[in-house]
Assembly symmetry: D5
């Protein structure tokens, strides 16, 4: 499973509606309004990187009010060693 | 529980070691090497925003090789309505 | 109580009207026209971070003429130790 | 009385110590660690703009670990009209 | 007397007309077309900082074709010590 | 006579000393500490643009603590038409 | 043969259609949707740099939905020395 | 004679037409489509800096499709000492 | 097979040596000195995204003189439809 | 013949010396100190783009005090049609 973070800048009066729409996309595990230069962050769990086309290019970018996205694709996870994290946010 | 994303820029030869150190911080649920303008992203789960001082100011920023961090603090979650997500990435 | 600073960029001919509207939002303690790259700064006093959604996403960002906001959320206050500052926050 | 916001970027391992030092400057009413591209925000209350030289140029900028500051000087306050705000600037 | 520099970015076909309009504002001592990332620079002489609201927010920013302004407010003058500069500010 | 504005970014602990040194350069009519992304602004009055080499490249840029300068060269002045401005450039 | 990389920013709802159109340009060897601040990257193989005018200025920039392009033109290739790369991506 | 470089960003479908129009301005010695963040570069030869107003503010900036210009004005030439360059500025 | 473009900024006196070293990394198909804000571009062909850790984090970023990299990961290829491109730049 | 513009940012106390050194490179037709965000501009006349490696990577970037360069490579010239420009490129 591949993790990606999509940082989203949107029109001010569309943020709440976009958050609700993006939450319904099947690859979106979590989506939040955030402080800072972006308005929303979506956390994706993908089977393969080709799914980015479905969720970002054809999913998020096609929604009215989305101005820009920047996708940070995780290519290496650093698991916790000292503590068992099997229950915390397993990748399985 | 409060979610935050810490975007981290680090010295090139310190990224892997930093990923392993950051993974051990108790508020860090996940940490990844990512594509794009930042080198690492840490996903935090916090009891309150005062914990940012412990994990970011005194934790991550004190590690050798960290050049800058930018914290995106989630202030509203958009839960999935149509599908039950109780199992997907529970906040509990 | 949580403090946040909202930096606001607005259309030039809307700044004065926006300042007056933002001053009426209940979480806004002070709002000013400022020099520099932003046009207005609002100082917020919040009960919890969820109130950011009400005041920023649904309050400020919905006002006509607001182009962008950037929210700086305080997560640690540094109180004055040497001098009593009990009186020092008043506007005089 | 003139209000100004000083946005401060600092070396990661100096932020907490700087917050405590800046809090002791007499024109600094409040100072916080904040999320976003800056590390600290200081809220100033000044008798006149010449005091900026004392507090910023000779005060904050001379402290070890300060990398950059950007000062937003308020030149117009928008008072609340509908509600009495006489009590609203306290930290409660 | 307070000095301020207003850096102005404007629509290309409006620069000359804007220069002429801004020159008529009473607090504007000089205004120029300039090289570099801004199009016009206005040199202001103000009685107090509240006048910035009149000349910038309500004056310059309300003119058609102004895209952005950035105001640099002088808070300390460095007078020449070795030479008498009493005559040096004239335009010759 | 040619007017130019030199925006100067300097090391924090050198700003006051630099202001005093720059004030002594013969082409510098005024120099100020300013709010915003630059630390100092120098107002130049030049006989010809070749003097920029003397005052900027060999003068200001050679002073210890200067990090960057950006020169905005005026190529058109917009004189006031309605009011006589013969007296308006003085510092009063 | 000259190699160039064209980084393309496009309207969100036009990316997929643009990728397909750009793929048909004769100098475009490969084109991809990519993560990061740009949306598409086109890899060009050119006979001479004048062909950039045909493929970029008149080709890509004329397509509806293209917002900006930035062209990185290769002026020196570093061939692999240790391994025979005759088959890998020959320049011929 | 004064040399200046005007860096021009333009609408994608107007670049070729703009290049042809700008080439006809009498102070424009050369104009090119270029790689990088700007679309066109014009090389100017001016009698005095006041001509910038004619060629840039009233000439280039008034042409439809020009989005921004940035003018780099040469204030010191470094002539070649070792070799005679009397012939070297021609286009050959 | 996954394609990625690594944009590399390097110290000026190390660019040529870095180009030769990067060319030897097994996942690097091509590497070039380029015009524009980056110094080198490496074209990668990867078996999976985890290889980015080997080639970028541990490979390129560990080389002396590399200042920053930005990786653009391709997640969708747009194949040419009208013409057979089997011979042009085969991925095999 | 290929034309390129190299924009150079340099250490303040090295600009004049660098201008003199760069003027001696055989592909450099002209070099100037300029106003704006860059310090020097070199105008190159090249036989082919491979010469950029010699003049920029190994020439300019190897000189002490050069901090960054950005090369704008001309790929289309727009010749003047209405007037004969055979004489117009000389320095007079």
């Amino acid at each position: 499973m591949i993790t990606a973070f999509v940082l989203i800048r949107a029109k001010g009066d569309r943020i709440a509606a976009l958050g609700e729409l993006i939450a319904e996309l099947p690859q979106v595990a979590e989506v939040y309004s955030v402080t800072g230069p972006f308005d929303l962050v979506a956390l994706l769990r993908l089977k393969d990187i080709e799914e980015l086309d479905e969720v970002v290019t054809q999913g998020i970018l096609g929604l009215p009010g989305v101005e820009r996205t920047e996708t940070l694709l995780a290519f290496r996870a650093y698991p916790r060693k000292l503590l068992d994290q099997g229950f915390s946010l397993g990748e399985g």
